[in-house]
Symmetry: C2
Subunit: 257 residues, 2 copies
DNA sequence: CGAGCCATTGACAGAGGTCAAGGCGTGTGG
DNA sequence: CCACACGCCTTGACCTCTGTCAATGGCTCG
């Protein structure tokens, strides 16, 4: 199938702060990849076209701030690669709200409401982010009920994700959050107790919403529950004991119900 | 204007647990009031009719549990009168997530996703709650784009409400949350520092997500910032000092941006 | 080999919960 | 009209979770 998209439609007009990120025109390969994302895969070429007009890709190294709370929501953001931390500040405190991976959209609610961002975002890894002008999203939603449904589904998913994060923060201690994280990792890799951490411990600490120091102590404490740590390699030698501590709960841990 | 609705359409078929609440048929007056809620005021009679079919009103005294997390989302709930606390439990802890007043919908996300509730709800005051079968909501959304938009707006609003609550919990201490609450109350009543608490302190504690004991101590501590308490009557004698402590932040405190 | 980042460890402090006891007000029954 | 009970709020003592600050150890990379 030939690619029907001419590249100049997807050029970003201005790259506001070149010091901190690089805005890219998309090449054919990028566009093809984006076309396949489930959010867009079922829409017509015409609407896809309309949506991506003046969209752009942002490629950022770690620790680059992408959006700032309080700014108007110009773009819908979609993480294509890497890791993005949603955080929030007030009264010179700073707290991680969520950590997002490839496939996640963020600040959809602000885009739909045409309001300001309530959270800031920064990269934690090298990341590639697709930015779609907020107006395009709203316009295509008006004319394409199917896309509107997709967006609502996405918003709903994000909503429930936030609820889950909120619950986990309020109902579990940092130690328990770590224990549950390890249990989830173990199930995903279906390994029999052998885990390789996919992120460095700083990122993991943010993900669990604790300080690196606290995380370090938590790992040590989990030694009492059969968790052996050496660098990024973790060995769970007593899953039963760990679960007794963690008390996993599908209403918090299962991401898709 | 004559009321076009015949009452028997709005009868609830089964009242599952009569011990804890009373399910009511709606009378003409109820229906008329509901018709005026902004969520429904602009829709056609036909769709309104379709929506409310088999809906019912639930009238509950304080401390009655209305929904339980993990149950399938059968009904969209709308608070018509009173106060509802959304809470969540795990591992025999129990935490307040949100407190809702008249006009709020809840568990819209679960209804749209046709999934289970992620939070439980209980009344804090005598409350009147409208329950609309989840299927009706989804059906009318399919055929009435305007209503669909209204629901999306509502979901968006709720989403941002949760983000705000989450932020407030993570970025402010209990003392600061109380201080900001008093400042907000003062602005709403536009009184010059004279506030009358609208809820008892137990409810207020839940709303601020602290224990009653903590709240009591927090009030005492606010004495240092010019807050004088006698029962439900509060006097703010040094708003400047209170604000210096509270550091109000529109991205947390303003409910409608 | 040194610079620097990351992780660990120790000492400490503060926020906020728990438990138990006591005070205050209000409504009901004698 | 008084007394008592019950619910709510307050107060004190205490403890745990978690953050902060500072020092150190280890690893990587130029």
């Amino acid at each position: 199938m030939t690619n029907i998209f001419t590249l100049d439609k997807y050029r970003f007009p201005v790259d506001h702060d070149q010091h901190y990120h690089r805005g890219f025109m998309m090449n054919e390969e990028d566009v093809a990849i984006i076309r396949e994302i489930s959010l867009f895969s079922s829409m017509s070429d015409e609407h896809f076209d309309q949506l991506l007009k003046l969209s752009h890709l942002k490629q950022s190294p770690p620790q680059v701030q992408i959006i700032t709370e309080g700014d108007p929501a110009d773009f819908l953001h979609i993480v294509l690669e890497g890791t993005v931390e949603m955080f929030s500040s007030s009264n010179d405190r700073d707290t991680t709200m969520l950590v997002l991976r490839a496939g996640s959209t963020f600040i959809l609610a602000a885009v739909l409401k045409d309001a300001v961002y309530l959270m800031s975002a920064r990269t934690l890894d090298d990341s590639k982010i697709l930015m779609i002008p907020a107006g395009n999203v709203r316009k295509v939603m008006e004319t394409d009920p199917d896309f509107a449904r997709t967006m609502v589904t996405e918003l709903t998913k994000n909503f429930r994700g936030v609820i889950r994060a909120f619950k986990e923060r309020k109902l579990r201690t940092g130690l328990e959050r770590l224990a549950n994280y390890l249990i989830r990792m173990n199930e995903q890799t279906s390994g029999r107790g052998q885990i390789m951490l996919t992120e460095n411990k700083r990122t993991l600490a943010a993900l669990l919403s604790v300080t690196p120091e606290y995380l370090s102590r938590a790992f040590k404490k989990l030694g009492e529950y059969g968790v052996e740590v050496s660098g990024k390699r973790i060995h769970l030698t007593d899953l039963r004991a760990l679960k007794r501590l963690a008390k996993p709960n599908p209403l918090i841990d299962k991401r898709d119900i």
